[in-house]
Structures are given as C-alpha cells and as structure tokens.
Amino acid sequence: MKPVRTVEGTMVALPRADIDTDQIIPKQFLTRVERTGYGDFLFYDWARDAEGNPDTWFFTNDPARRGARVLVAGDNFGCGSSREHAVWALQDWGFEAVVATSFADIFRSNAINVGLLPVEVPRSVVEALLAVAEDQAAIVSIDLQARTIRAEGLSASFSIDPTARDRMLKGLDPIGATLELADAISAYELGRANWLPSVLVGVVEGLGGPLQAVGDPGVDLGPDVE
C-alpha cells in the first residue's frame, strides 16, 4: 500500500444516505479474479437509464469530472455487502478519499487497508462541503497528518482511529507487521482447546505451480457485461 498523507482535488457530491456496496460496484462485475479494472463499472446501474444506456447527468459519464479526487456522501456510506471491490472501484476511478457523516464498519476497514481515506465529519461539515462542491472546480484539501479538511470558506478537523492513521501515513503492510508476532501466535495456538474443529486434507501433488498462472485466463473472456 502506498502511503497516504494528503488528498487534494475537486469533489463529486452524492448526497444520499445508506449508499450500499451493491450500488458502488454491482455484483455482475465481481467475477473478476483481479484487484484492478473495476473503475469503469463504478455506480454502474445508477449511471444507466432504463434501456441500459449511459445517463449523461451522472458524474461517471461526464468527462469533466474525471479528475475528481474526493467523493462527498451521506450517512452510513458503504453499507451492505463486504465486497472490497467497492473500494477498489472507487480508487480505480480516481477517488482518493470519501467524506461522509458515517461509514459502515466493514467498508471503513477495507478502505483503510488499501489506502482510500475515509473522512468522517459532522453533518454540518458535509453540508458546507456540498455547498462548496456546487462549483465543480472547487478544490478540497485533506491532510491526514493534521486531520484537517479545508475548502473555500471551510476548515474543519476530523477524527480517525490513530492506528489506522499511522498505518495509512506509513503505507504499512499489516501482514508483514503481524508476521513479526509469529511467536505470540504460536504460543496462543498451543493453548487452544483440543476439541476445536480441524479440517486437514493433503496438498494435491502436481498442482502447486505458480498461482498467477491461474489468474491468466489464456482465453478471451469477452466483454464484462452480457
């Protein structure tokens, strides 16, 4: 993960509450085995009319909005399905931060883990930001170190879990850090109750080749949508 220190750019306003991950990235795009390539399908169904054609009013269909870096939304952003693909799609499209009054728990963890900054602020700040964002060229600046968000006529601070902030600032690989604690994990394992379920099968010989080979389809998979 790349370190995240500051985010600066234009905004997209999506002032709705309870935007769920089924909207952010609809399920028909979850059959990919990669982490990339989801940006074109961000809010796919919201961006289409009844006939399935691109709806020009929606921001993902407006080339002028392509440079936006910050999404501003309502309460409980990212609720529903745990799919991390939602975060990947937002990042892939170009967003580096989401500002909302609250985030669903799993979405927030997923965002922190891959460096999409979740900025939780009071409703008054979201409303002020939405007013500023009416000018599509207005710039917002978010400083994670200082925990501040600034735009024209607006300066506010936001809170974020200190561990999450530290990890994002440093771009830490949490697996590497946890593996340093292998002795503590091993000690814990020795004390586990012996009735707990264990399901062991042998490794199948001859299938242990490079994993990437499976991710390479070797065939043309055709378009993403039927």
């Binding site: 509450a17 309870d18 769920d20 089924d22 909207q23 609809p26 399920k27 979850l30 059959t31 990919r32 085995v33 990669e34 982490r35 169904d45 289409r48 009844a50 309502g74 309460d75 409980n76 609720c79 529903g80 399905s81 745990s82 799919r83 991390e84 693909h85 609250s102 669903a104 728990d105 799993i106 963890s109 997923n110 883990n113 879990d161 561990t163 949490p174 697996i175 946890t178 593996l179 604690l181 503590a184 994990i185 814990y188 109750a193 009735w195 707990l196 379920p197 399901v199 062991l200 099968v201 490794v203 299938l207 080749g209 994993l211 990437q212 499976v214 991710g215 065939v219 998979l221 993403d224």
Partner: protein, 465 residues
Amino acid sequence: MPGQTLFEKTWDRHAVTGDDPCLLFVDLHLIHEVTSPQAFSGLAHAGRNVRRPDLTVATLDHAIPTTGRSLGIRDPRSRLQVETLRHNCATHGITLFDIDDPRQGIVHVVGPEQGLTQPGMVIVCGDSHTSTHGAFGALAFGIGTTELEHVLATQTIWQKRPLTMAIEVDGDLPRGVAAKDLILGILATIGVRGGQGHVIEYRGSAIRGLTMEERMTVCNMSIEGGARAGMISPDDTTFAYIEGRPYAPTGAAWERALDDWRDLATESDAAFAATRHVAASTLVPHVSWGINPGQTIPVTGSVPSPDMFEDEAERDTAARALEYMGLRPGTPITEIPVEHVFLGSCTNGRISDLREAARVVAGRRVSDSVSAVVVPGSMQVKAQAENEGLDRVFIDAGFSWRDAGCSSCLAMNPDVIPYGERCASTSNRNYEGRQGRGARTHLVSPAMAAAAAITGHFVDVRDWE
C-alpha cells in the same frame, strides 16, 4: 466487578496481543470463490503461505449455476473463479466442498451443518452474512479481501473492540409469525445504521424459544442493521443441534466442550452499552417495501408516503424507494402483485424454511402470473427435503427445484430477476439492483413467500393457518 457478556468472554479468549486494536485468533476461516482469488494472488506475490489450512474451509456458492451443473459453468469469468478456488485450495491443502460434493452449499449453511460452527469460536469469512454463525454463541463477522489475505497468512485479525448492544425480545412469537418477521421487525425499528459499531446479543424468552435454524435467520440479518456481528448465548438447544455432526467433538472431548460452552453465556449482572426491548407478542408478518432492509412494514399496512418521515435523509430515501419500486403511497401491501418468488439464501434456505413453505404450498398451485423457484441452502438440505418428499410438494405446485447456492439472493449466477419485475424473496437484501438491474425485491419469510407464489400477491399468511 460486573459479570461478562458472551461477546466479552469470546473476545478475551481470542486475544493474542494488543489491547485496542487487538490481534484476535481466528478459529475458523470460511472462504468462497468470489472474494478470495485476490487474497491468494496477494499471498503468492509476497511469497507467503497459508498458516492454518486445517482451520480454513472453502465452498462454492456465490456465482455457480443452480441448474444443469453437469454441463459445467457457461460464464467464462465465473468458471475461471471456480477454477482459481480449486487451484488455490489444492495448492495450500484447504478442504473444498466442490460443486459435486454432497456437502456443497452456501457457506453460512454448510458451516453449522457440518458442525464446524461451535460456541465461543471466532469465525470470519469474506462475506457480510458471516454474522449467521453468531447464533451458536460464536463471534462471527464479515471481512474484506485484504483482511482475508491477512487471515490466510497469520490466522489472526486486528480488530477494534466494538460496543455491545442487547436486543431483548420477551414473550412468545404469535402463531404465523416467523423468525424472519422478528428480525425484519427489529430492522424496521433500528434501521440500517442502528447497530453501527456494535455487536448485538439477542436475548430474552422469545430468543430462548427459537430453534437453531430460527436463531441463524435472526443473526444472519444483524449486518442489515449495520452491526458488526449478532450473537445468542449458547444453551441446550445449541448443544443438541451440534451433537453428532461431522466436526463436532465426541466422547470425552464432547463432555469437556460442553463444560466449557456452559460458561460462555452472558452473566445476569453483565452490562451492555445499549439495550433495546421488543415485545414478541406485538410482532406480525413483515414485508419490505423499499430499497434497504430497514424499509419494512407489517403485511397489514400500506406503502408509506415520504412525508411520513421526519428525517430529511429518510424522506429522500423513501421517495427514491417508491420510484425504484414502482409503488404508490397508500397502496395496501396485500394488493402488491408479484411476478417472481425466490425461496432460499443463507437467511432462509434451511430445511425448516423449506418445511414451512411446503406446508403453505401443499395441495395448491403457483399462480399463472408467478415464476417460483426453490434453491436449497445446501445439497444436504436438498437431499433431506427430497427424503421428506418436499421436492414433490414444490414441483407439483409448479415451483422449479434447484441445486444449492446463493442464486437470486445476489444474482451473480444466471438466476437474475428481469428489469422492473417484482420478487417476493426470502433473502436478506433489497438494495437497488440486488436481484438484477431494475429488479424489485420484497423481503419476506418462507411462508409469506410461498403464499405470495400461490396468490400472485402478498397475503397475510396468518389468515391461511
């Protein structure tokens, strides 16, 4: 010092190191084809191994077809996902309930069915409905793919300690009111954010009186209230369900496990950060009318008007819901016609759900205007239903009888509800496009779905008893 809650005991038992966040040991890691491939490729890229393949179990469920399986998977991307999971499991020695395995099914149905889900465990899965396993007194929650990779590599997960919430349900559920109605009624009260940051423990005499399958239905939808997890203190009902299942302890180990599990229940003087009360006797069958699971009302009610909501965001969501759902305020719920009925999912795809639905269907015919399907939650549920002759009841009535999987709950496989059409569904989510782009979902209990299939519109199933 006050007593501890089930959650606190379970959490403390799994703390490897750290306070908040705490590194928790994971007793069981369930995986499926859709959210795991990127985690395995991440491991491979970093040259890391799966630490505990013996505590990792995989099944195919999300994107596989429910018909014509002998013909293989037509969609090339879904096929690649399935092949990727097979390869990853074979490489790392992980048990996989493959498409032709009699144990295959929805991940949250097969865990309990095999006895893998036990009280006091920490269970994670790259799926938000992992909360289902909390019905056994396990701490079980959904995780993202990056966390999944972390669990594969370390068998642990970093967690901030959530708050606790008690939902006390006292009294008896009235006749004709299902566990699904209970959780829909709770969601109608707390909304889709009411549980944010909390682990809910469902308590009270009504909860004690539920079967394990009913408890799973309740805990399953905890995530729909925004909760991190849902739990129920284990009791004799729990132990009786587990005993004799393939991965349940036996002999002396069973006795030791029982002694341990009896200590897990929340103590009488334990405190919760928040408590809500629900009177079971006031509950009625519920139907969702909107585009999130909190937008749910009694079947005796009418479609609400946006101006009935005080909160501006609620009003806005209600207005969008009516437009998406093609509903007019004031329309009685029982006058809403349905074109599809979906019986299944990790919420309501178990044998007792199929029995409830079959009881309503027996001797009747599916309405000509309705296309109705039954998708058992697992192949074992399917086999059990066939032993009991339930398949004949459904097929004779005009239902399609399928193989196990997630199917139309999220419609990643070919079981997609067409644009603009309306479905009475026993699943857990009614978000826009969930069952297909433009599809209109109404969440109901199995009996309510079955009755809607017969009449072609919603009915109060209590009138049918």
